[in-house]
């Protein structure tokens, strides 16, 4: 029996036969997909594809406020439902679905949201063709078993999903669960491939009691690779080949590296370039978005690199003020806007502070009204941010200061922890 999806936390074991049946049967589908069960996210997404409907992917933990910022109201989930007829006569086997996807890959689209740099999240429309650009399918990969360790509605999650689905591999959902159980899942289901953020790996490593010899491939993405874990990695996963990928919501999966050093592959030489140590991507490789600011058809990613000989380069920090919390991009303006609403707050600056667990975390410096009590205000800020923001966006430290230091150009200088370009 070939399993498509295993999620022990939700007691789910879905075979490819069942999945195929679910894909083609008559049922209600959502255009706007927001579900905390990742299996249902992928089911809904593929059902939309084969019904030639678009999909809008939303994080299941978006608050009402966060949705409103995306101009999405709560009622849309009911309004934009449609009934998919029984498609079992059109698709007799899973292969028919693969053929259909191949034929329509340019037409089929997904909307994904990414934290914008200007205070508003931006919507990026990706064609299915763009989405599966990095997917490799061949016979030798058919026995792979994937650990699924990303948010299903984010780009990296979609990548792993399609890579596994196209090769009819088993996906074992190991995200958002106790790391002790994650380790047990590795042993029980004989996971061979894992793609995750370096932060996820750092959390998992202390729980890997015995070597996991079955693991053949470890792919890291979302944030800069943390070379401190390299030795432990080799010890716990002796057969695991380490790869780093560079991908973005705007452009999809672009670069792959053995170890930390990347090169621009020949096929992308006309489409990816490095200017002033920053990665630039040509329009042709990008999804579609109104928010892209292009310069002569080139998009500035804000991702900075350090150059070495023979075209090799290594990723450094980002040029923009976006904060990378364990692979999640956070826009400081979004958090500042919410904290500013709290009565007693005069001004606030939110920024990233280097953190050995998650790369960076969100912290806030607050100027308060003189008479307001620090403790009470601190509680109020914690309360409002918790209510209205996703967990990774929450400030992990709130400090009360008398003023923000200014730089010579008049910009607010955060403090010694600022990530300099």
């Amino acid at each position: 029996m070939e399993f498509f999806w295993i999620d022990s936390k939700r007691n789910l074991k879905i075979t490819y036969d069942t999945f195929f049946q679910k894909l083609t049967e008559e049922n209600n589908n959502n255009i706007f997909i927001r579900n905390d069960n990742p299996y249902l996210v992928f089911l809904n997404l593929l059902r939309n594809f084969i019904s030639e409907q678009r999909s809008v992917l939303l994080d299941s933990d978006f608050s009402k406020e966060e949705l409103l910022k995306l101009e999405i109201s709560d009622t849309i989930f009911e309004q934009e439902k449609y009934l998919q007829p029984n498609l079992s006569h059109k698709f007799k086997t899973l292969e028919d679905i693969f053929l259909f996807l191949k034929k329509n890959e340019e037409k089929l689209e997904i909307d994904i949201y990414t934290s914008g740099t200007t205070g508003r999240p931006k919507k990026v429309t990706q064609s299915f063709k763009n989405l599966k650009r990095a997917v490799i399918y061949r016979k030798s990969l058919q026995d792979n078993i994937w650990g699924f360790a990303y948010n299903p509605t984010h780009f990296a999650g979609l990548q792993v999903f399609f890579q596994s689905f196209y090769n009819k591999n088993t996906l074992v959902y190991i995200f958002n669960k106790d790391f002790k159980e994650v380790y047990q899942d590795f042993k029980k289901y004989k996971i061979t491939h894992l793609s995750c953020t370096p932060t996820f790996m750092k959390m998992l490593l202390p729980h890997v009691v015995k070597k996991l010899n079955k693991v053949k491939n470890l792919t890291f993405g979302g944030e800069k690779f943390d070379s401190r874990i390299e030795i432990v990695l080799k010890d716990k996963f002796p057969n695991g080949e380490v790869k780093n990928v560079y991908a973005s919501t705007e452009a999809g999966s672009l670069l792959k590296a053995e170890g930390e050093y990347f090169v621009i592959p020949e096929k992308y030489l006309d489409f990816i370039k490095i200017q002033n140590k920053e990665i630039l991507i040509k329009k042709e490789l990008l999804g579609v978005s109104k928010s892209f600011d292009l310069e002569n058809n080139w998009y500035r990613t804000g991702d900075l690199v350090e150059l070495f000989d023979n075209g090799k380069f290594k990723f450094k920090n980002r040029k923009s003020e976006m904060i990378n919390v364990g692979g999640y991009k956070v826009n400081p303006t979004e958090i500042e806007d919410i904290i500013k609403e709290v009565i007693g707050v005069v001004d606030v600056t939110v920024f990233g502070r280097t953190n050995s667990v998650m790369g960076e975390i969100v912290v806030a410096n607050v100027i308060k009204e003189e008479k307001v009590d620090k403790e009470i205000l601190n509680e109020k800020i914690k309360e409002i941010t918790k209510l209205r923001l996703q967990e990774y966006k929450l400030p992990r430290s709130i400090k009360f200061v008398d003023s923000f230091e200014l730089t010579r150009t008049g910009k607010i200088k955060n403090n010694k922890f600022i990530i300099k370009p």
Partner: protein, 75 residues
Amino acid sequence: MINKVIEIIEEILTDKGEKLDIDICKDSQLRDLGLSSFDLATLTVKIEDKFDVDIFEDGLVTTVGEIISILEENV
């Protein structure tokens, strides 16, 4: 010092809305206390602010006792 560290952990757990029904001691495993990666990140920040030491600098720490040892060495 141990009291201060326990106090910080308790504060993080209370902020999460968790009941403090386990006694935290030197042998307590950080993950058994229900601390997620976000909470561990918070823990490092709070300890760094208090003692000016990054407890996770050289890799991962798993017990409360290990945090105390690192602090005793560096403070």
